[in-house]
Symmetry: C2
Subunit: 520 residues, 2 copies
């Protein structure tokens, strides 16, 4: 199982089809297969030896897509860096993984002098764009032209393919080591969930390739010999343009983004009917969105994916057939879904014993998509992978049909007077109030109850929130002991992690100064 297998295969199956489109450039599978051995040669010339790390700090592009195959072709380990990181975080990752080569695009040009100075173990910097390379860097395209193609090293199976840093909310990000097997297993599991029919998959990327919501779909699209369409980020109009222009049939868009398309002034100016599959994650799809999509995006089928960097992306999936509002199938709409083809999922208690259906515990996953471990961090690896299962940190229950229902992050669960309160449930209740834009519910220390439920709420623009009225609203939806004991109203957006999640650690911090919070 080697990640380059998909490239070799695609180049024979669809040599003249578009492999990747980016701005006005288009590379066919044949071109990618011809460039990969040259890119690999350029990396070798830059000093790459088998197993060396190649860090990439770049916006999504055709060249980034190629690197996901060319780096392993050369025998290297690719390390996609988070584009939202500050310089200090980038430097930390470069040092942590001891990157020998760094590949940077124009967006990060101004950072290069600082990175060179602070991460001196980087021997060579390749500059990915076509403008004049900054001093001390080598032009990527020029290096390729000079290079004599080299043979695929064919690392495979459990050998290290990539390191993806997780956006930890505390401490330094951890480097998740993914093997060739992990990446291919992930790709194949997607083929089973969203099989390419007679028309090739044309997948639109808006998530960064440094994240599994980006990279995993390059693996999938390549395994399907489809087309990757690259956008640097999500913006409603460019997304609609790209869908219409390239007849995109597969997208990863979270519900908020789909809502932004539907709400956009130019929505009806674009033909979005080529889309067959919209993959989303994070939480169940809102019924209102499903209704709206059925009406205004009737060709779109929704698939929910649940996973994490440590599972190389999707581990649990809710098929499109369950995205209905009536009938037997509709009963599963609040689930995250079932185990993908390449893994097993179970719910475990505090002693890692498997819990029966209906009981809330931690989601544990094992299978061929589970990471090798954390880079240079055997302690964290041993804890996360104890007993051979990846411990997700998510609290959930499973029904009799193996569907998983996520209730909360385990560390976000609040234990108040001996009762478990799932912050997500409280947030859902709060967010049903029309004046609420977003909210975060955390446990804060309390002498009598251990913890009490505290809510931080951001009102919608132009709306005002009356705390008493919001509490009454909550009491109508959830049990009294789950309702917030205190509410803060913020004017600014909630603090977010680099991955875009609400940084509850930051919110909790002032309340827990000098105290350690026990996680259950």
């Amino acid at each position: 199982m080697k990640i380059t297998q998909s490239l070799h295969r695609a180049a024979r199956m669809r040599p003249h089809s578009a492999a990747v489109r980016c701005r006005d450039r288009c590379l066919t599978w044949s071109a990618v297969a011809q460039r990969a051995p040259r890119i690999a040669a350029a990396l070798r010339s830059a000093g790459l030896e088998i197993g060396d790390r190649v860090a990439v700090l770049a916006m999504n592009s055709d060249r980034y897509t190629e690197l996901l195959y060319a780096v392993p072709w050369a025998g290297g380990v690719i390390v996609p860096l988070n584009i939202r990181w500050a310089a200090a975080e980038i430097v930390h990752a470069l040092q942590d993984c001891a990157a020998k080569i760094l590949i940077v695009d124009a967006s990060f040009r101004s950072l290069i002098p600082e990175l060179k100075a602070r991460a001196p173990q980087v021997r060579d910097i390749l500059y990915l764009d076509d403008d004049a390379p900054p001093s001390g860097t080598t032009s990527f395209e020029e290096a390729i032209v000079r290079a004599e193609p080299v043979a695929d090293v064919e690392r495979q199976g459990d050998e290290l393919y990539a390191i993806f840093y997780t956006g930890g909310t505390t401490g330094h990000p951890k480097g998740v080591m993914l093997s060739h097997k992990n990446a291919l297993a992930l790709a194949w599991s997607w083929l089973a969930v969203n099989p390419p029919g007679e028309e090739p998959i044309v997948h639109l990327h808006v998530a960064g390739l440094f994240h599994l919501a980006g990279a995993a779909y390059v693996w999938y699209t390549t395994a399907a010999a489809g087309t990757n369409v690259m956008l640097p980020k999500f913006e409603a109009e460019p997304v609609m343009q790209a869908i219409a222009e390239y007849k995109v049939n597969s997208v990863v868009l979270i519900p908020t983004m789909v809502n932004m398309l539907l709400a956009h002034a130019s929505f009806s100016a674009y033909d979005l009917s080529s889309v067959r599959t919209c993959i989303y994650g994070g939480s169940p799809i809102p019924q209102s969105l499903l209704l709206a999509a059925m009406d205004r995006l009737p060709t779109w089928r929704f698939i929910q994916a649940y996973g994490m960097t440590e599972t190389a992306g999707m581990a649990v999936t809710l098929a499109s057939s369950y995205h209905v509002l009536e009938g037997e199938m509709a009963k599963k709409i609040t689930a995250a879904g079932r185990a993908s083809a390449v893994c097993e999922v179970r719910i475990v208690g505090q002693d890692d014993e498997e819990l029966p259906a209906g009981r809330v515990g931690e989601i544990a996953i094992r299978g061929d998509n589970i990471m090798l471990g954390y880079w240079n961090n055997p302690e964290a690896t041993a804890i996360a992978l104890r007993g051979g299962w990846m411990h997700s940190g998510d609290a959930a229950w499973m029904d009799e049909d193996g569907f998983v229902y996520i209730v909360d992050r385990i560390k976000d669960m609040i234990v108040s007077g001996g009762e478990n309160v799932y912050s997500a449930e409280v947030e859902n209740a709060i967010c049903k109030h029309p004046a609420v834009l977003e909210s975060a519910v955390i446990g804060i220390p309390d002498q009598k109850w251990g913890e009490i439920v505290h809510a931080v709420v951001v009102p919608r623009e132009g709306s005002k929130i009356d705390v008493q009225e919001l509490l009454t609203h909550c009491r109508g939806l959830i049990a009294g002991y789950k309702c917030p004991r205190s509410i803060d109203i913020l004017c600014d957006p909630l603090p977010k992690t680099a991955a875009g999640k609400i940084a509850k650690t930051v919110l909790r911090e002032p309340f827990w100064l000098g105290q350690e919070r026990r996680v259950h």
Copy 2:
């Protein structure tokens, strides 16, 4: 990657669904998951140690299906034996793989004394059926009842899972060693080709589990958490009964078998509309059958699979969307298809160099479904797997879209006066004659031309064949140099191998006595 992963997963996903139906018995996934550790314990009690071989000589059944998971659960290697073999062949295989345990069902009861005497290294014989076990054997079900469940040994990846003997036409059958990875990769590649939709896969087995056309679909159906419906063999009426009774939606039936259903007097008495997928192999689907099926089996979609024991089953597949008679897609109807998701396919010349599109050479395959090698036969392994590619022995060409078109077995190609004649092409021409039931075309020695084309033809019941008229018929369809120089008319059916293929070696033998035939 362990084969038992699918069982663990299915037991959580569909605990109360039928895993396997056989006669009046039905086991749920929960029951299979509970029985497997007991069967494994029984095997251990019988002396099984990690890596020991467990041979199975039995007709298809629910218990045989379970053994495909329970033997690896115990750490053993399963060796399914060909049910058509003579005693001497069975003894040879038992000795070759040094089977420690033999599992036999009632169909082979009478053979037990001879096998015991001639294969003394077999330490224990388990008797699979419920009647009184023959002397010197242990009742399978009684052994399970007595056993204390043992934990899954969890062998995986490249570790040996099974040995399947290939029905060689010359010499002894070779033991094809398949790993856990091979079997799972095969299962996943089927999930991508024939993904389970909202209704579970219900797969009808008529091919013996000793053959990949049987066992591979157990792996697939289990990975899909579907239902295996077991018949001991193909008979038209029981097949139609089973489809109607169990709402079978997936079958493996070669075109001849589908024709037998269509021609059966009771065809219209059964509702066969639950079938969504009919998988076939061996040769392209006859247009007449496709037409008839479109009319009379409108829910059936056809998928062609090409593969061999050494590729753990399917390696190349022609999707149902190409099974049409008009339009762009119809151009591929004579292809065997494209590489499955888990492998690469290329066409190589005599020096193993890759040939360009359109040139005839040998099909070579590499990927995760390729066998570990031949048991106890490193020489044959080295030849078959040279350069890391499995050499199929099949002559074919590839088009610009990666579709493979098989022209012949390489050893059946006839070289006459420097021209290649593909026996399959000549046979197709002959078989288009209405009086012909079956035919085999072989090369026989000739002083002037090297080899000349010779045909052996069996007429349909009640038909007579005029040799001159048959030659005229052929000349109307294929070039003169391809037409037979001599024709034998047989009254008996053509000799077949244990796998049901025409035994051309047997037909060639009398012509080549004392001469060695060069294979090109």
